[in-house]
Amino acid sequence: MFTQTLTRRVLSSPLVDLLTGPHGVDRYTELVEPTWTSGEARAKVIAVRRQTPRSVTLILEPNRVFTGFRAGQHINLTVEIDGRRRTRPYSPASAEVTPYLELTVGRHDGGLVSTYLCEHARPGMIVGLDSVGGDFVLPAVRPRRILFVSGGSGITPVMSMLRTLRIEGFTGDVAFLHYARSAVEASYRNELAAMAGVKVLHGYTRITAGSDVAGRFGPAHLAAAMPQPDAVFACGPPELVAAVREHCDNVSSESFVPPVFNIAAETSGGSVTFADAGVEVTDDGRPLLDQAEAAGLTPESGCRMGICHSCTRRKTRGAVRNLITGAVSSAEQEDVQICVSVPVGDVDIAL
């Protein structure tokens, strides 16, 4: 412990910063071990389990930079796929106090990152962790009667809440209602079945064999699981969350909706938000740089022909088309050259 503290002290000293300048000490230590960084939160995948055919469960060992999360929150996970960093939010399923993070990633059809992880995740893989966030958390004063409702991969944040409560020695009542396409696709089925003191019900929507409840969520399911709970935590597709809100009070919820962009061919007529300046304009089809300048902003720029990268900005939402390459950037977080990029629908730019 003492040597670890000493090592950290030395590595973060101004002298070491000078000696390793201008790159900084992380750019040397990461070459020895990719998670040896003091600036970026990273984790190593130490185990991979495939508990259902359409998901993968990763056990991650985060480095010291990662400062933890609260049960129910999500973390931006960065994975490198074909040389490019891709970032997606995932909610850990592990309890908030454990040293390892557990992520269960459900495969979205056509989803780049989820498909990649389902097919290629392996122990030893390095991932980036940042931007822990989300208000979907347990209140500090725990309710006495808690109902968890989840659908598909929405099980992870409520699993994290349930595991956290159990580690705390929670003595109240807990019911857990989980929906999956079929019994084989129900994540954490065995672990839930072995939990004493938790009422677990499964609803299978496609292959219904073994289902505890029939059909979609409604008053009957609520009555079977826990009538009149003090608090309900629901996570899943928007329809499920809406149904829970309709039939219960005191609902906290989160919905996983993969963003869908309708990529138009020409001038979009969408709205362009220059987020830092707090300016919103209607797309007129010109490059983002021209539109920003027309709105009275003076972003850094150079060649205006897509070669010097002086104007590169982070696009935080929406899709843009590069006029030179024709490539459409629809990933949420991506650096784009605003002098040669035109909006395709609504776009937010960090500018």
Binding site: L18, L19, R85, G302, T312
Partner: protein, 367 residues
């Protein structure tokens, strides 16, 4: 091409090695489309291979740096001093050229890796990265070889074009060029000061206060690192570390000066007037980049150590395409140039540099 004007695209005529080269606006459009197609193809193919390549170069650079500095601590033994100095010199060359110059061009921005981002990268030399991005990526690469706009023609201190009017000051051209070679990192660092505009009275030093502060901050840290901290850490062996670091920086200075001067100053490389480049189309811009640049021939290691600036023509056509791709596309670029009758200037380092030295000496006199 950056400001809309009423001027019409014009035919450009240049005399290269006694031959007249003509490019009409229509030819230029077709020429540009063929080059655009190459770029599109490479961009679509970028992936793991490129990320792996640049990370391998970075790893080699960091290993050479650590190894070189460690060796210099034993520099009292001449073989250690020589090996340590050579390794550190190589490390600085890789850092500045194949890594720094290319990463700062945005060649790896598509990776989304913050350590390979053009906006974040800082290199192991006196010049602050943000100033370099402005003077080089924007000014030099956009206005390449336009006399009066591209400050890389002579860097404000040398006479490198007949179109720069002669003054008695230029009698010292070879001396200034030699000093610039030896002190190249400081020359590059001071580039954004635009000293020629200060001496001509166009601007005052107060206008450049922030720039100067940036240069001072970066240069101070580089100096402290190489000439104070590392020598002091070596205790009684400080003199060997100090001379090793000085020599490594000198090796990098001379090497990068030679490579860079061979990019735009060899014989037959063309310069342009502001008039010629009014209403310039993308195709004409490409034409100017080819005529205004020169390549170097050599082996694979030579190309890496030159930061692939040995493919200066390809680099100027596609400054944001990862430079290790230039070798692959150079054959095709050359073939396209041949079909359009555009000369493709290339040769071995010593021959090209020889013509540069001749030019430096010749332009010292009023010609």
């Amino acid at each position: 091409m950056t400001t809309p004007t009423t001027a019409q695209p014009q035919t450009i005529e240049k005399t290269v090695a006694g031959k007249t080269i003509t490019m009409t606006p229509e030819q230029a459009d077709a020429f540009g489309r063929e080059l655009d197609a190459i770029k599109e193809r490479v961009i679509a193919d970028l992936g793991d291979r490129d990320t792996t390549y640049i990370r391998r170069v970075i790893k080699a650079q960091r290993a050479l740096e650590i190894g070189g500095r460690a060796m210099l601590f034993g520099g009292i033994f001449p073989p250690f001093w020589l090996a340590g100095t050579a390794m550190l010199g190589l490390s600085k060359i890789l850092d500045n050229m194949e890594i720094g110059h290319n990463v700062m061009h945005g060649q790896y921005d598509w990776t989304g890796d913050p350590t390979l981002s053009s906006k974040n990268f800082e290199w192991d030399t006196a010049c602050p990265a943000d100033q370099w991005r402005h003077s080089h990526n924007y000014m030099h690469h956009t206005y390449t070889n336009i006399v009066g706009m591209d400050r890389d023609i002579g860097y404000g201190i040398l006479r490198m074009s007949e179109d720069q009017p002669w003054r008695p000051y230029f009698l010292g051209n070879p001396v200034y060029a030699f000093l610039l070679m030896v002190l190249f990192q400081y020359g590059v660092a001071l580039h954004e000061m635009e000293t020629e505009r200060i001496t001509s009275g166009e601007i005052t030093i107060a206008d450049k206060r922030e720039i100067l502060e940036g240069i001072w901050r970066k240069t101070k840290r580089q100096t402290l690192k190489d000439y104070v901290a590392f020598p002091l850490l070596a205790g009684p062996f400080a003199p060997w570390v100090l001379t090793g670091n000085l020599t490594a920086n000198l090796i990098r200075n001379v090497w990068s000066y030679m490579i860079i001067f061979c990019g735009h100053f060899p014989e037959d490389v063309q310069q342009f007037t502001i008039e010629e480049t009014k209403a310039e189309t993308r195709g004409m811009w490409y034409f100017r980049q080819v005529l205004g640049s020169a390549n170097l021939t050599g082996g694979k290691l030579f190309h890496i150590l030159s930061g692939n600036l040995s493919f200066q023509i390809e680099h100027h056509l596609f400054p944001d395409v990862p430079a290790h791709r230039h070798a692959e596309i150079s054959e095709e670029v050359r073939e396209i140039c041949k079909r359009y009758g555009v000369p493709y200037n290339t040769g071995p380092l010593l021959k090209q540099f020889g013509t540069v030295v001749r030019k430096i000496v010749r332009l010292a006199l009023p010609v």
